[in-house]
């Protein structure tokens, strides 16, 4: 009897283990148009958010978004394997020549802008810096706030982690001042914080701190530094207006390229991207929406 009960129990356990699998998700009803979108990792989250919103509103369109870098996206466009290439830089002359050789003219669309705001503690008297000064601060040449007109305090440099696109963009545009041959690195004691929130909370309560982040991530209670290209130039505060009229130096355009004039679904998608609805998503993700 004891062994019979044991056998029944074991059987019950095995049956329960083999129990129902979760219900299969139904595939989408037959999609008639398929848009392929590939390229920049800076743009990939934005492109995904747009694709999700657009697909929710247009059930017959299916959009696939991949990252891999601006270079990969443009290469795929040249090979005609994608409809839209995302790029955080402009196409170079050789790439345009290659496109013409492959029988089309690449068309460029500016779909958003990316700007970096340099932030300091609200009690810090320093409110304006040149690009050279910011570069020297972050590379370690300037160590104390009084060297740039502030109080006698040590400078605590805050940065994003090395795998962040913002980190790379800041290094290339500000620390290396756009010079490709420049190999200056961040100072070794730069604090690499894992999230925007970490940078913002440290700048908020530490008067010695200087940090940077995408314009969209900076809350209004922190002090943004006005940046000038050089000591003569105008010191410009970052805002949607100054980024769009190109007076703020630490900003770049984000592009989508198509092979020739887009038609049909691709054209409709690109038109939607520059509309107000899509540009609200731009602002939500920390980028700068384009002004009409």
């Amino acid at each position: 009897m004891k062994s019979l009960r044991f056998a029944l129990l074991t059987l019950l356990v095995f049956l329960a283990a083999c129990g129902g699998t979760s219900g299969q998700t139904n595939p989408q009803p037959g999609s008639s148009t398929y848009i392929q979108n590939k390229g920049s990792d800076t743009i990939v989250n934005l492109a995904l958010a747009w694709a999700e919103k657009y697909q929710a509103e247009h059930l017959d369109v299916s959009i696939s978004v991949t990252g891999g870098g601006s270079g990969k996206g443009i290469a795929a466009l040249l090979n005609k394997t994608v409809d839209i290439a995302n790029a955080s830089r402009q196409m170079q002359a050789e790439e345009i020549k290659q496109a013409k050789a492959n029988g089309f003219d690449p068309l460029e669309f500016v779909i958003a802008r990316d700007a970096i705001a340099v932030i300091v503690n609200p009690t810090n008297p320093v409110g304006r810096l040149t690009m050279q000064q910011i570069s020297d601060i972050y590379s370690g040449k300037i160590d104390n706030w009084f060297q740039v007109g502030g109080q006698d305090r040590p400078i605590v440099r805050l940065s994003r982690e090395v795998n962040s696109g913002t980190h790379v963009y800041f290094r290339d545009t500000v620390i290396r001042l756009g010079d490709k041959k420049n190999k200056t690195l961040f100072a070794a004691d730069t604090l690499l914080l894992p999230s925007s929130e970490g940078i913002i909370s440290e700048v908020r309560q530490n008067p010695n701190a200087i940090g940077y982040d995408g314009l969209g991530y900076v809350p209004p209670d922190l002090k943004t530094v006005a940046v000038a290209k050089d000591a003569k130039g105008p010191y410009v505060l970052p805002s949607i207006a100054t980024v769009n009229d190109k007076s703020y130096p630490v900003a770049r355009d984000l592009y989508m390229y198509t092979a020739g004039q887009p038609a049909g679904t691709v054209k409709a998608y690109l038109d939607w991207i520059v509309s107000t609805e899509a540009q609200t998503i731009v602002a939500n993700l920390g980028f700068v929406p384009i002004l009409k």
């Binding site: 004891k2 400078i155 090395v162 795998n163 690195l185 004691d189 690499l192």
Partner: protein, 298 residues
């Protein structure tokens, strides 16, 4: 009846044996996986570069020494906090506190051990680091000291649990003998009970060290993650970067199979080996064969 009994006995024995061996098998498999993914780093990066002092992996500076020193200085600092507090609390709970107080405090300490480290890290950023910056007049509160204090706090419950059990299991006859010879209570604790529970207390400390060296989230949030060589005594007041924080922050976006990927796994391998050494030392202390005197008395 007897035949059926032995059939189920055999099954249960086999299942329990499998569970026991599986623990060893999993550890060995993890070790081989780490080896397979981490050893190519030794081939792809020159040994001198791998042990240099600059960690900037996106431009092929793969020096892991700052990370190792960062982990070590935080572990040492955490131990300086955990040893007095951990052993002190264990001694208080087992020797000095009245029974009713012990019944309240012991579960509370266990509760502290159950707190997620992320929560402690969050408290660290918001409360501990500004306080350190103001109180010690440092440039920033995000330092190795903040990490060491938090990790000490995380290691204390583990240490207290095990040390307290070890002290509890010292036979009452030891204490009675000491007191009968005229020792004060403190002399009994310090010179008789603690040395008798030595192996258990050392195990507790080793487990605390193991927990500390593997801690990721709390250190990632409060140490500043700056890859500087933490070798001077004053380095504890400066930001550092640990091996665990490096792996956590960078593994997500690394290309599978690249040199960077292999170097990150190599760091994981170093971490694994350090934990292994700590655990081997701990178990060699615990399983040391008792001296003849100890066998006679217990």
């Amino acid at each position: 009846m007897k035949k059926a009994l032995s059939w189920s006995e055999a099954l249960i024995t086999a299942v329990v044996k499998a569970c026991g061996y599986s623990a060893i098998v999993f550890v060995i498999l993890i070790f081989f996986f780490l080896l397979r993914e981490g050893v190519p780093a030794l081939a792809e990066v020159k040994l001198g570069e791998l042990f240099s002092t600059r960690w900037y992996p996106i431009e092929n500076h793969f020096g892991i020494l700052p990370l190792i020193t960062g982990s070590i200085i935080i572990t040492l600092g955490a131990m300086l906090v955990a040893i007095p507090f951990g052993i002190g609390t264990a001694v208080f709970l087992s020797e000095i506190a009245p029974r009713w107080l012990r019944e309240i405090l012991k579960p509370l300490v266990e509760l502290l051990g159950g707190l997620p480290s992320v929560v402690l890290g969050f408290l660290g950023i918001l409360v501990l680091t500004p306080y350190l910056r103001v109180f010690l007049n440092l440039p920033t509160g995000l330092t190795a000291l903040a990490g060491a204090l938090l990790l000490g706090g995380i290691a204390v419950p583990t240490t207290v649990s095990i040390a307290e059990d070890a002290l509890d299991s010292v036979p009452q006859s030891y204490r009675e003998g000491a007191l009968a010879l005229g020792a004060t209570k403190w002399q009994t604790i310090w010179r008789v009970t603690l040395p008798a529970a030595r192996s258990g207390v050392l195990t507790a400390l080793m487990l605390g060290i193991g927990r500390t060296i593997g801690e990721t989230m709390a250190v990632m949030m409060v140490t500043g993650n700056a890859p500087v060589m933490a070798v001077k005594l004053t380095s504890i007041f400066l930001p550092v970067r640990t091996m665990t924080a490096t792996i956590a922050a960078e593994m997500g976006e690394v290309a599978n199979g690249s040199t960077y990927y292999h170097v990150l796994f190599f760091i994981g391998l170093v971490l694994f080996l350090i934990s292994l050494v700590v655990n081997i030392i701990a178990s060699s202390v615990v399983f040391k064969s008792k001296t003849r005197a100890e066998r006679v008395l217990s």
